[in-house]
Symmetry: D2
């Protein structure tokens, strides 16, 4: 598929994800980690304008110079940015204006991409990064929309307007044994990957076992009913403080009504399906569950080297690994270099992908990362021992 085609399909899918929103839904930011949908729409567009069109398309006129201030994200190199906690206070630019911005940049990008031969390798890399960047924001759009509507007291249902994979029920679990030895992990670098997947390198793994499927809602309910949230012995010290502070007693979006567990979904409040993998849990909860079960979480290396032995992709799976640079990791120059490297502290690695991940975006070397208390992504766990 040509870049142009890929660009067009991807940009259309972003719009499709938002198809059932009212203008009001595009604006709010209930918590700091969630961004307003219109910010995602503008920010991904700003990326192509700033890193492709402005430096490389002769005579390109920026749509609105003030938008750099509004839609810039963490790229301190490119000028002042809107503080993240302020994003939800911006009613302007309106959704319609943001759509006009997208159309304007899309027209310029499609013209720009029509002669692919004129694009050199380093620019190709930036465009590919831009496409992968927008795929990441597609997943964030899906999770942020769910958060915005799932925290509205009216608990509105909404249409799911994008294709997404079926999540099969987990009907049986098996322990897969992996022998000790030297293994290789990390991306080979022969196709697109993020900088944090490099370099491919050798690791020594001890013998271990890992489960063939993720932990289910049924298993997690057993933890709840056994008093798992009330017994400090299963928790990290920070995890226990997190439980107390936020009064956590179940995964996000869950509520118990007359003894039965319900959760919020695009269909509104529905019964928690027992055989589906548990979802919307923090690292702290994943770790506490594993401790309660007499097991542990796999490290990211264990997960990766065993990953061709089991199906994955329904839930981002918390690992026992902190997010740190691989041997030989080098930060890129300039704003692009801010992408992944500067977050390599205070975060835990998640592996796999989720039902909200853009199809084709995943690979078994992918390193996702979040602070251990976050759970608005489609996060779950798989046991190791």
């Amino acid at each position: 598929m040509s870049f142009k085609e890929k660009y067009q399909r991807l940009r259309a899918r972003t719009i499709a994800i938002c198809a059932s929103l009212a203008p009001e839904d595009y604006v709010v930011q209930p918590v700091v980690d969630v961004s307003p949908p219109k910010w995602h729409l503008g920010h991904t567009t700003w990326f192509f304008e700033t890193f492709v069109l402005t430096p490389h398309q002769q005579d390109y006129a920026v749509f609105d110079p003030d938008y750099n201030y509004v839609f810039n994200s963490y790229y301190e190199t490119v000028g002042a940015r809107v503080v993240r906690t302020d994003r939800g206070n911006l009613s302007r630019p309106t959704v319609e204006e943001v759509f006009r911005y997208r159309a304007y940049v899309d027209a310029a990008m499609i013209a720009f991409l029509s002669d692919e031969t004129a694009i050199d390798a380093s620019l190709r890399a930036i465009i590919e990064l831009g496409l992968n960047h927008e795929e990441q924001h597609q997943e964030l759009l899906i999770t942020d929309i769910k958060y915005i509507l799932g925290n509205n007291p009216l608990l509105p249902a909404y249409a799911c307007t994008y294709e997404k994979p079926e999540v099969p029920d987990i009907v049986e679990q098996a322990w897969l044994d992996i022998p000790e030895g030297v293994y290789e992990i990390g991306a080979k670098g022969d196709q697109f990957c993020f900088d944090n997947e490099l370099n491919r390198h050798k690791v020594y793994a001890q013998a271990f076992a890992i489960q063939s499927g993720p932990v289910t809602n049924e298993q997690f309910i057993a933890f709840i009913e056994d008093g798992g949230y009330q017994d400090f012995r299963h928790w990290h010290s920070d995890g226990w403080a997190w439980v107390q502070q936020h009064q956590v007693a179940a995964p996000m979006y869950w509520q118990q009504i007359e003894g039965a567990w319900y959760h919020y979904t695009p269909e509104g409040l529905t019964l928690v399906p027992l055989k589906q993998p548990v979802c919307h849990i923090s690292y702290y909860e994943a770790w506490a569950f594993a401790a309660w079960a007499g097991c542990r979480l796999p490290t990211e290396a264990e997960w990766e080297l065993a990953s061709d032995r089991f199906p994955w992709g329904a839930r981002w799976e918390w690992t026992e690994s902190a997010y740190l640079p691989y041997p030989g990791f080098v930060k890129a120059e300039g704003a692009i270099g801010e992408y992944n490297g500067k977050f390599m502290v205070n975060q835990m690695v998640l592996r796999g992908a989720s039902e909200a991940t853009t199809p084709g975006h995943s690979r078994n070397t992918y390193r996702n990362f979040f602070q251990p208390g976050l759970r608005w992504q489609f996060t779950g766990l798989r046991l190791a021992r």
Copy 2:
């Protein structure tokens, strides 16, 4: 004018105030004191539904029972309410749904009011309160819209779609001398007033002088240029802490560009007009200005008993009086009783009215009140000594 006519005109004016807003502007809540415009639209409607239609209109069907949760304000008597800081996170109900809610309740109210003879005195009082309540929210709509757009980095201009009084320039000031003696203040109760204006009672005033006009921008700039914001001796201890914490160096909406003072208005950023009364200052700033000028603020009694000697109504004027009950003040029974009484601590009284006050809503016994650090209302001051 009949109740029905009054009701229709008033409700239409509320809509007119919002006429130049985009749907997105109705949603956000940049700070806790500001409410989203759609909340004002819903809340004032909910008042008529809850206190007039539901108890008094036979067979009235509530538009949506969940709205009590969303649009209830401080009336703890009437059930759970949305915490104020959460209002800005609610994308639903949408603006369109809120307008439908208004239309639904308006139709029922107009039918209800068509036979005014059937309405007894106590119900008349509640309806009159509802009308005055909506007038108060009209002013809040005006100030909140200004705040929402005036804190957007794009500083958008917007059309002023409601009639408002001209604010005349202050071209000369005079000291008006008032002799000491026993005076009467407070509402007589022979026409509508809020409960906090009662009872009319005698006060003893010392001889004092009060200025014929409010302090102007020009005078306030002299205070700024004399280092007024940097000299603790002019400030209350709490005021000085407020200046430090918020890094205050000018009235709200002001910024200095190449030596000249600009302020945000519906026309966007414009030069501060020197002869107009200063606006958007806190009690702390009003008090510091007065101290710097070797004067003081008038008490609310002084203001009221002198008020027929000077023009007023351009700015809410901070007084030296804390908001406390008048002799003989009695809280009404039930939810209505929560209206004014429970705020009688930690607030300062403002007298007069402002360019944003609904025409006809003001009188010289009116007691407005806010915490001393707030300044998004059209607030100014008048000197006494």
Copy 3:
């Protein structure tokens, strides 16, 4: 009594108040409003050194120039001060050093005061202010020591090493009727008073009734048992938020053990004596109690003009008056002027005195003031209607 004698007696009483403390007790500051005892000892000494000895005693050598930084309080005019919340982190100067500081200044002061005829009127005023200032800190020492030990999990008993008045039981209450009319309140200025008691001026009082005695523990328990702390209707909006935030369910130092109410005292935990006046309540609680009882708090003017009709002095009595300047109030020049004037916002007036007030320090024009949520002073209330 000569100044010298007064000085010596007073300074000795300050030491006596601390007689049963361990060095460790002088150091801690459990909450921002409480100061470490050694800070009180140093600060009162610093007052005489800074305002009397340094400017007026030839060749006086300051004990330690760094002490100005440590023991200065709110006098921004006299240089940088230790932020109040840091006072509890200072282990040095040690208690012994502070006592040496006191001895050093006392020796100089006693020499200075030995020839009283050489002291002019304005300096006399400052010395008198210093003496009254130390009397105020004697009361604070008593309340702060109680707080420090009463919030220690060991709840230690300690000897009361200073003379204090008996607090008689309240055995009967009567309503005293006061007719309406013009009255005078405020200090006449013919003997020592604080600047905030001036000027004496006329007020108009409506007819009212006030109780002959303060509210008792027995009455307050009736409020508790009637669910007073759980019913928002009795509370100010801010008071209700205060109850929720601090989970308040009884006066400070109270705890219920097997159905009986105990409170912390110098004797340790003892049964609450039913006929004694209630103590350690905030303005919010005083106001809520009065509302629950169908009464109200008196204003400070009402309290003062009726005060020769009832005994007072066991409890500081919250009034319905915010702390505001009297007509004609003028702030003194320089650091002394910071004494009272800059606190005239966000505080409520208390009248009378308490069992912790230095004998001779009280008068019926005295205006004490605290934020409405504070209750570590010996505070109570008296009903009016």
Copy 4:
């Protein structure tokens, strides 16, 4: 050396560390991470009382049952504990009482240890843990005392009353090359170690180079003078936020006076010695320095496997490794199990030891750990690449 002798020497050294303190110095807690010295004295004593004497010494009478509440630390298994932020508010028990507590427990312990043959292996392990636990608190005493006095505005000098190693100047640096391959790290378990050092296991190391000596003050000053604290590109995102929030511009205890760098030491404020290893820096600063220098921090595995090639022990050295369990790590049963395991998230590993570490307490498998923003320990760094 017998247990008894070891116990006696160790306990005496703890007292020696405090020899130059005034009683007041034992009480304060300027920040949450620092504990009052008397708390350390009580807590280490409580360990022996709770885990050795109470369960194993027949007829042992607890010194004071309330002390469990005061001196318990993170052991939630053993009952309610004093919240860490409250420790600095406790004037009682006094220092003298704490010393009496130590003497009481010491007498019982010495009697208990006099017949070592009666002590079985599992109890031996607990006693050894208690001794190592006290050694850890000896280092904390040294760092906490420095913090308490070094944050006092008087910056008092104090005698260093315990033996401590000389820290040699760093006069030359060399890069040591380590070849890639499979190595073993972790404790062998044949002598005392903490649970977090187990199990010994194989790791695969890439080829790397590490410096023979830690970074010096001179090198760090070059980073400061090059604007290192002002350039976000050297910092983690969280590190940059930390710099902004705390306004950090130099290591802890440093201040610049007329162009020269001084730091607080037991001798008071002295010139920063250029050839000494830099001290009192956070992980964020260590990482930013390494990034600025074009290098990186070593991982803890790299540090350990190279550690017999260079001298170490002057500074705790921040590594690029998050604190995570080793393969096969098992948490002990009961309160002892809370020791290390529950902190294995949100912390970074430090390797080596410091001038404040108790002689004999260090080994090259030791895993120290702190949150990345802390720097009151004697922390520095060594470069790798």
